[in-house]
């Protein structure tokens, strides 16, 4: 016969075992971070210096687009300016066009027969159907083709990119964790990165069918690979390649975007909903609200 105290103790031990088991299971899903050590910070100091605020500026490379166009044409950038992936959100409904306009002069994605048929069945949305006009932010890779600055933060086990446009944030885990096998699809996907010499290589999976600047239909197997490197102390190149075993017959290169560091810049606030008078209605028709100037916040 056990004493009540022994029974309570046994129950506590069993509970603890259960709790530990639960933690171990969740550890398979979630990486538990250790407190960074001085050595962890020292290791960051030895990496290429990505810190600070960067912007493509006019003519800033493949994803930047627009910078070389004449003014009237550039004003239509949403329909034709710059590299196709840089446009806001044509893939909002999973639609798009086969071939597309390509990135930075390339031939565009090569679609599988199934996805070529999808592209044909779902005509590419007109430029005015861009849901970002309603302040819906673009997912990856569109988040990386914005004309506004990016701030890079390097901390132990993580690179964080803050995009000024729409105040978007990307978390890139560099602590050695694997890509998730079955991630919840979302705007930015789930990103893990590793250093290949002086190049940060980032793989991202887990994409929902939301605006992300792709002008072709894609599957839930879409994967985005980015290679970030410094080409001189204040210049960063970002080479972006897309694979999708269901939608693409070959990797699709979005080209290389070049960012310049502005050492005296800080990221500005960009709350799109603050005073948005643009919009797209349920029929995909763009409109602008010119009524009641006094209603605007400032």
């Amino acid at each position: 016969m056990h004493s009540p105290r022994q029974i309570v103790f046994g129950f506590l031990i069993a509970s603890l075992a259960l709790a530990t088991s639960a933690n171990a299971q969740s550890a398979g899903q979630r990486v538990v971070r250790k407190a960074p050590t001085a050595a962890d910070w020292d290791a960051i100091a030895k990496l290429p210096d990505f810190t600070g605020v960067w912007e493509a500026g006019g003519g800033g490379g493949g994803g930047g687009g627009g910078g070389r166009a004449a003014a009237p044409a550039a004003a239509q950038a949403g329909t034709r300016g710059g590299a196709a992936p840089a446009t806001g959100a044509p893939a909002a409904r999973g639609g798009g066009r086969a071939g597309g306009r390509g990135g930075a002069g390339r031939g565009g994605p090569s679609l599988t027969p199934e996805y070529a048929a999808k592209a044909k069945a779902t005509p590419p949305p007109a430029a005015e159907e861009n849901l970002t006009a309603n302040c819906l932010p673009p997912g990856l890779p569109g988040i990386m083709t914005q004309p506004y600055p990016y701030e890079f933060l390097l901390t132990p086990g993580q690179v964080t990119i803050i995009s000024e446009a729409y105040t978007e944030v990307r978390h890139i885990y560099t602590d050695g964790r694997p890509l998730p096998e079955d991630p919840d699809p979302n705007f930015y996907g789930t990103s893990v990165g590793h250093w290949d010499g002086n190049t940060l290589v980032v793989d991202t999976v887990g994409f929902a069918q939301v605006p992300r600047g792709l002008n072709f239909p894609y599957s839930d197997k879409l994967k985005v690979t980015e290679r970030f490197q410094l080409t001189d102390p204040d210049t960063m190149s970002i080479e972006t390649t897309i694979t999708d075993p269901l939608a693409l017959t070959a990797p699709y290169s979005m080209g290389t975007r070049t960012l310049r560091r502005h050492r005296n810049w800080t990221i500005a606030e960009y709350i799109c909903e603050e005073n948005n008078r643009n919009g797209v209605d349920e029929n995909g028709k763009a409109h602008i609200n010119l009524a009641n100037p006094e209603a605007s916040p400032k």
Binding site: G57, A77, I271, E274, N276
Partner: protein, 133 residues
């Protein structure tokens, strides 16, 4: 340092083009504006919204009936403009301006800012070169 006037103009135009393209990508496609044409309006600033995702210059323009119409002119966003010499006080109520816009397709009293000129001759572009390196 002096710069050839035409060279400077080319640079300004190129910057403007880049700016317009950038803004389009950043937020929307300008589908509501007729980008194939320009219209000039002359009036005075009623109100300047230094706001995201666009600035709005509200301009009182005398009409043929002897009254005043308020035109809304959409411009670049504050984060972009602030790095190119603008501030929230660049346009003040009462400022007289001749503004070139790409008008609304539907004919309503609004458009997209292309350029403007003060009576002093000062040109107000929303592109322009980065003044804060």
């Amino acid at each position: 340092m002096t710069m050839n006037k035409s060279v400077r103009r080319v640079i300004l135009l190129a910057s403007l083009a880049a700016g317009i393209a950038g803004l389009a990508m950043a937020h929307h496609s300008y589908a509501a504006f007729d980008v194939t044409t320009e219209k000039v309006i002359v009036g005075s600033i009623k109100k300047f919204d230094w706001s995201n995702p666009h600035t709005w210059a509200w301009i009182d323009v005398p009409n043929e009936q002897g009254g005043v119409d308020t035109w809304g002119v959409e411009g670049m966003s504050p984060n972009y403009l602030a790095r190119r010499g603008w501030s929230r006080t660049t346009l003040k109520p009462g400022d007289k301006l001749t503004v070139t816009i790409r008008p609304m397709k539907d004919g309503s009293k609004g458009g997209m800012w292309v350029t403007a000129k003060r009576p002093t001759g000062e040109i107000l572009l929303m592109g322009g070169t980065i003044t804060d390196p």
